[in-house]
């Protein structure tokens, strides 16, 4: 590829552009190639892996992060992780797995590293102009034209920072969990961790064993699911119960957790304010253990900062040297007009896509991996990218069927994919029930395969 100015677009014909070479981007490249498409993938970093690459700027990983979904439920459906790996591999192993995937399927030759997508613009006939800037040289961008664009830029890298009264004048240090890498910075310090997601719980457990004092502030009660139940990975136990009616399965799980994990209020935590799976699951068997050791002191939500101290909503105070805000992330798409992703006044800046995948404004624009699930993400994104490839095939070969299909996708999206009654919190905007979502993508793929409406 030679250099092209920002105004004259170099036409790449039928090729598809993929933005990002994290897990989702790699899946898109592999599955599009398998369905016969030419693919150019652009990655602003110098390597693959996205968030799992702890060396990447803005990687949300930290030294002790291990998978929370077990190996068989996390691996790609058509490329298993080695079965001599542990049930919950370390993040460095997940990166190694992605590297092997890229090599095994020969994906690297389709990836342009150090290339940031600056802008995508729809042009005539459903095609897209894509402006690419070299991440290092800072020279003017190249403009290329593609038949379709798959956005796979991830949504766990732009930190969300809450703001509390008095926070600006706080005399300790405040960091978001995105900048937390390992526990060396906890040594000889008093640490407050805010947020009860998996990052908050993991980091509180790190502070429990390495900081002077650790307070953990959560603004509601949660179900703390351990990694193992009855000696088996908890998600495999859960998957094995899929044959039960949903209501019964939930009651059984809640009963088991109450018996095995116990009553959180005994530990000074609030009782869950929701049913099991009505919040993104915490998978962590150590928080209660450390509370039992006195190594984590649970606290409610922060009310305000006051000089050296933090005041909690129950009126108690703490004087941390360091506050880690593990308050999550927001999706961000600087390179694209929000309307293309269905962002409007009612969506709080979150995209609203058909089937959480297809742009509502363009038939040739997709976002892969823009979801959170109660199970592993990789398989869901695998099926998303298979659906994209099949859809592009049908669209090219049979416009009539394509129109019909678009109708089905809209219907599929109507019920939403989250479990009913999810806690109303911004992070649950992207939450799906893995089971429901897989079933829906399954119907979409079936329709694309058969050409007729599937039941």
């Amino acid at each position: 590829m030679s250099e092209y100015g920002v105004d004259a677009a170099y036409d790449r014909g039928d090729a598809v552009c993929v933005i990002g070479a994290g897990a989702s981007g790699l899946l898109a490249v592999k599955n599009l190639r398998e369905h016969g498409f030419k693919v150019d993938c652009y990655e602003r970093d110098t390597g693959i892996g996205g968030g799992w690459n702890i060396r990447q700027r803005n990687s949300p990983m930290y030294a002790n992060a291990h998978l929370i979904s077990s190996r068989p439920l996390t691996e790609f459906p058509d490329f298993p992780m080695p079965d001599d790996w542990p049930d919950y591999p370390h993040h460095s192993k997940v990166l190694a797995y992605l590297e092997r995937y890229a090599d095994h399927f020969g994906l690297r030759e389709h990836i342009w590293f150090g290339s940031e997508i600056e802008r995508i613009e729809p042009v005539e006939h459903g095609r897209f102009d894509v402006v690419i800037r070299s991440a290092s040289s800072g020279s003017a961008g190249r403009r290329l034209r593609y038949a379709a664009v798959v956005i796979a830029n991830g949504h766990n890298w732009d930190p969300f920072m809450p703001e509390y009264p008095g926070q600006q004048a706080f005399r300790g240090q405040i960091l978001h969990s995105v900048s937390y890498q390992d526990s060396t910075r906890f040594r000889d310090r008093k640490v407050l961790v805010v947020g009860g997601g998996n990052s908050g719980c993991d980091i509180a457990c790190e502070a429990a064993v390495s900081a002077d004092t650790c307070w953990h502030s959560t603004r509601r009660g949660y179900w703390y699911t351990p990694k193992y139940l009855f000696g088996r990975p908890a998600d495999q136990v859960d998957a094995g119960l899929s044959w039960l009616p949903a209501g019964l399965k939930r009651r059984l799980t809640e009963f088991t957790l109450r018996r095995v994990v116990g009553d959180p209020t005994r530990f000074g935590l609030p009782a869950p304010d929701h049913r099991f799976k009505q919040a993104h699951p915490i998978v962590n068997g150590h928080v209660l253990h450390h509370i039992g050791h006195g190594a984590i002191v649970p606290k409610p939500d922060v009310a305000r900062f006051d000089g050296r101290s933090v005041v909690f909503t129950d009126g108690t105070t703490a004087e941390p040297d360091l506050v880690i805000m593990a308050t999550g992330y927001r999706p961000r798409f600087d390179f694209c007009d929000p309307e293309l992703l269905g962002v409007n006044r009612d969506t709080d800046g979150f995209p609203k896509l058909f089937a959480q995948l297809f742009s509502p404004a363009s038939e040739t624009l997709f976002v892969a991996g823009l979801l959170q699930s109660d199970s592993g993400i990789f398989p869901l994104v695998h099926w998303q990218t298979v659906a994209i490839a099949k859809w592009l095939r049908v669209r090219a070969s049979d416009p009539e069927r394509a129109k019909e299909f678009r109708g089905q996708v809209i219907t599929e999206s109507e019920g939403g994919y989250a479990a009913p009654g999810m806690v109303d919190s911004p992070r649950h905007r992207l939450e799906v029930s893995g089971d429901r979502y897989a079933a829906s993508i399954g119907r979409i793929i079936q329709t694309l395969d058969n050409g007729s409406e599937a039941k």
């Binding site: 398998e34 068989p72 439920l73 459906p77 058509d78 490329f79 298993p80 080695p82 079965d83 001599d84 090599d103 095994h104 399927f105 020969g106 088996r232 495999q236 998957a239 094995g240 899929s242 044959w243 398989p379 099926w383 298979v386 897989a438 993508i441 399954g442 793929i445």
Partner: protein, 202 residues
């Protein structure tokens, strides 16, 4: 691969790991194509390929591998039955540096047919297949599939070859002058050369 197949699989407990015997012979000249992975239903397992096939394949410029699935050769017995053996085969294929072409001999053809439904092999030969009555599910990734055998092999008779080939939308390739034992019979080389030639066409 169908999504439904995957959903059903992950709801069951995965087969327990066993240490697998994998025999490897590196390509002896510049590599001419994807590695070849062999499996047979014979109790010998990988050893059945060690004497003739692997050196010959390596000599033709391809990395040559053979695996013993659970209960064969030096691989201990394990749980899972058919699913366990297919698991061993898929694990072996996915552990190779790049996607292989696969040869399944006898009962091994059945395991290959199942493995193909959830791992995209580049191409597959079902050689003197046994136990394959119905096509398990369509292969994923649209690999080329060839059914081959011998008209005089009573353990994989010509009628069966026709039926299996029809499952994959083709006709069988027939070799005369050989029985079921494609790996150690005196006439092993011409059929193997023909299979390698078929791989080269892809």
């Amino acid at each position: 691969m169908s999504l439904e197949l995957w959903r059903r699989r992950v709801r069951k407990a995965p087969p327990t790991r066993v240490a697998r015997q994998v025999v490897h012979q590196a390509a002896e000249i510049d590599v001419t194509g994807p590695p070849v992975l062999c499996v047979t239903g014979d109790r010998l397992g990988a050893a059945a390929f060690a004497e003739n096939w692997l050196p010959h394949i390596a000599g033709r410029g391809r990395d040559a591998y053979a695996v013993s699935v659970r209960g064969q050769g030096d691989t201990p017995k394990g749980d899972g039955g058919l699913a366990g053996r297919v698991h061993d085969l898929v694990q072996t294929a996915a552990a190779l540096p790049t996607r292989p072409v696969v040869v399944g001999h006898g009962q091994g053809a059945l395991w290959v047919a199942h493995a193909m439904t959830r791992y995209p092999v580049v191409a597959a030969v079902l050689l003197a297949p046994r136990g394959l009555k119905r096509a398990p599910a369509p292969p994923t990734g649209a690999p080329r599939v060839l059914v081959a055998g011998s008209p005089t092999d009573r353990r994989s008779p010509a009628k069966r070859l026709d039926a299996v080939a029809a499952l994959y939308g083709g006709a069988p390739l027939l070799f005369s002058g050989i029985g079921h034992d494609f790996m150690t019979d005196a006439g092993w080389q011409p059929p193997l050369d023909a299979l390698l030639a078929w791989f080269d066409e892809g």
